[in-house]
């Protein structure tokens, strides 16, 4: 029975050390948390964007600034307000807004800066035209009319 003794002495392979695995994954997690652009503006205007068939996904999210146009709850239904960042604003604030947004972007994003207009369907076009003019004056020439996808019929 000497062979049995030898069999008991067989060396077992140690398990792979996974102690560093959580650290690695945490690093990746933090990377994603920092890199992803979670713009949490608290919306003060209510809007319902139009539907279109030709809409495209907006790429380069870090180069996108948003102008919200819609109704404010508690205000008459036919008055529309502009929201920039977290507060209501007027037409004359748009230029300063575009400039500050542009200044915050890195040099790579600046040329492809896009302003996304999220406006309610019932906003009169005159207001949109004025916003467009203000954007034009501040050289934010790439714009995007925010909309949802409608299935082509």
């Amino acid at each position: 029975m000497k062979r049995g003794v030898f069999r008991r002495k067989k060396r077992e392979m140690p398990g792979l050390n996974t102690a560093a695995l959580p650290d690695l994954i945490f690093t990746v997690l933090f990377f994603f948390m920092i890199v992803t652009h979670m713009r949490d503006v608290d919306l003060q205007v209510r809007y319902d964007v139009p539907q279109g068939t030709e809409v495209k996904k907006l790429t380069h999210k870090s180069a996108v600034s948003t102008i919200y146009v819609g109704r404010v709850p508690g205000q008459p239904a036919d008055s529309f307000y502009i929201q920039l960042n977290n507060k209501l604003a007027t037409m004359s604030d748009i230029k300063a807004f575009v400039e500050s947004e542009k200044a915050q972007m890195n040099s790579e994003d600046q040329p492809r800066m896009t302003v996304s207009i999220k406006a309610d369907r019932d906003v009169p076009f005159g207001m949109i035209a004025k916003i467009k003019e203000a954007l034009q004056q501040s050289f934010a020439l790439k714009i995007n009319y925010s909309a949802t996808q409608r299935v082509k019929n």
Partner: protein, 188 residues
């Protein structure tokens, strides 16, 4: 004392990672991209004279009624109209002139580079009506470009590379002129 069992930390952080991956891609913005002309054009008066046959005049009045060359039109017919107008396949003398040009990848072909779609919108029209009009015009262009891509490159426009896209947009350039209809007395 045995060490704390940390085997599940990896799983927990994986969960968090997946959560962030999923939520961060959820708020993607969809929309209709447009390019505004530089502000120099605004100060310069519209001196551009466009031949009657080269212009398609779209108007949207205060009641959201669309008129195309002063004829009332339903929004659903607009993209077809834009297609016919821009392509002018039959060389109709009432539709825009085509010029023959050398286009990279496509060789000599007819190019619709003279047409202009003039858009006039009343400030009282709703944004939705304006958006639907823009959408229909873009749909018209996209259909034409897609047809050309399928004919020439045997695959849709969306899967063309940048070079092919450039060639196609030379044949069917988007020429849309938006006039700011302001509440001024001068011109009607």
């Amino acid at each position: 004392m045995p060490g704390l069992n940390t085997t599940s930390t990896a799983d927990i952080s994986f969960m968090l990672l997946i959560f962030f991956l999923v939520t961060s891609s959820m708020d993607t913005d969809w929309g209709l991209p447009r390019q505004l002309p530089p502000p120099d054009d605004l100060t310069k008066e519209e001196e551009l004279v466009v031949k009657q046959r080269n212009a398609l005049c779209l108007k949207l009045d205060a009641n959201n009624q669309l008129t195309c060359n002063d004829e009332p039109m339903a929004i659903d017919d607009l993209s077809k109209r834009v297609e016919d107008f821009v392509a002018n396949t039959a060389d109709d003398p009432t539709l825009p002139e085509l010029s023959v040009r050398e286009v990279h990848l496509l060789g000599r072909c007819k190019v619709s580079d003279r047409h202009v779609i003039i858009v006039e919108v009343s400030p009282k029209a709703t944004y939705d009506a304006y958006f639907q009009m823009q959408n229909a015009v873009v749909a018209g262009y996209n259909n034409l470009r897609n047809e050309l891509a399928l004919r020439q490159f045997k695959h849709p426009y969306s899967s063309c590379n940048a070079e092919q896209r450039d060639a196609i947009s030379l044949v069917y350039p988007q020429r849309i002129s938006e006039q700011a209809l302001e509440e001024k007395g001068g011109e009607s």
